[in-house]
Symmetry: C2
Subunit: 231 residues, 2 copies
């Protein structure tokens, strides 16, 4: 199979990117999965990312160390408390403290570097404009602008040999639609980790924004969430 069939897939360990990986696989891409050790508060999502990549039979899984905690600005990399039990109205209002400055831009840039090295013409990211409307770097116009920049940034673009596509297949799906599509593709959601603030042994809290969106998604899809939650 040619290199043009290679895709770099960003895998966080969460539900969305596990589904994006299954979609890339289903489209026939040879997947190179990438995760980041970026100073997040816990390591459970990195362990989940590796299990998900293994389960999907990806070509290679890389964990890139980058010191985003050294830049600061987010509850996910500092000691700021993660908000719990927020109402839907509160969650829809503004950008949450769990937003990590420029995170998707940095992650996509690293994916771009690896795409250049392995000759991949596609980069998959599991962003979603429906549930995460508060995150500027999940919006379709952002993804499109990133793709335009990418195609001026690379050796392959200058030489005219490869045009890179940023694929965000979950962009317009609700959480329940994502879950239904993932289940249809055989995603094992018991391997995924979504919680922003798990217990020391990795149990999901059930009350942070991420847990609440996940639980609501499974509920709306009429499916059982296979992960255990704290009582």
């Amino acid at each position: 199979m040619s290199e043009a069939n290679n895709a770099v897939v960003l895998v966080s360990g969460g539900l969305d990117s596990a589904t994006a990986l299954a979609i890339a696989n289903d489209q026939g891409f040879d997947c190179y999965t990438m995760s980041f050790d970026y100073g997040q508060r816990h390591r459970f999502e990195l362990a989940a990312a590796r299990k998900i990549a293994d389960a999907c039979g990806c070509r290679e899984h890389r964990i890139i160390r980058i010191d985003l905690a050294g830049i600061g600005g987010s509850a996910l990399t500092t000691d700021t408390a993660v908000p719990k039990n927020r109402s839907n109205a509160e969650m829809e209002k503004g950008i949450p403290v769990t937003y990590v400055p420029a995170r998707n831009t940095i992650f996509l840039s690293c994916a771009l570097a690896w795409a250049e090295v392995v000759g991949a013409s596609n980069i998959f990211i599991g962003v979603n404009a429906v549930d995460y409307s508060g995150y500027p770097d999940c919006r379709p116009e952002y993804i499109k602008a990133f793709e335009q920049m990418v195609n001026l940034a690379t050796k392959a673009a200058v030489e005219g040999s490869i045009r890179i596509r940023i694929q965000a297949p979950l962009q317009y799906l609700s959480k329940s639609e994502i879950i239904r599509q993932g289940l249809a593709l055989g995603v094992d959601y018991s391997l995924t980790h979504s919680c922003y603030d798990p217990s020391p042994d990795g149990l999901a809290c059930g009350s942070c924004d991420s847990c609440r969106l996940r639980k609501k998604g499974f509920q709306e899809a009429g499916k059982k969430d296979p992960i255990p939650y704290q009582a």
Copy 2:
């Protein structure tokens, strides 16, 4: 002074970014300088970056660790030999092995993250489209596309409070013009390190592309290069 006067300046330890920093300073910005420990072959440029930042009286200097060597693809992060004594014609032909995939995109993305945290509205980068025409991510159209993406990526952009500018003040200058401008602004070029392949004690080789461009620049500017070279 307001945050809008803050600028993040990428400082590599080399001649170009030291000049870009002096220009940012001269324009009255409060400068936050950022360097990267990215698995480069030697540490001399990081030491130089810190000295340059200190000499310029910057607000804060940060070194971000990121494992680009883990991605590979460049003579600057792997064991591939650095080319020496290439003719001008050879240097102008194609993209050199010292190109690091997506490096400027990754560095600018991290600068963007810090810009969000400190409320900076300007990011300075010392790219140059004249001498480094072989690097896709030094071209004006790339910088412009990055700026467009940035202003869709950030919290401040979504909230409409800050528009971020990517400033590349050396873009259209030749090396000798950069040196003349830097000297006029008082840059101490003895602090800078340009060599891709220095001796174990940090002496510039004098024959890699970067040394050759530097030497030619000083020569054309009619100025003495203050750094020593290997015999």
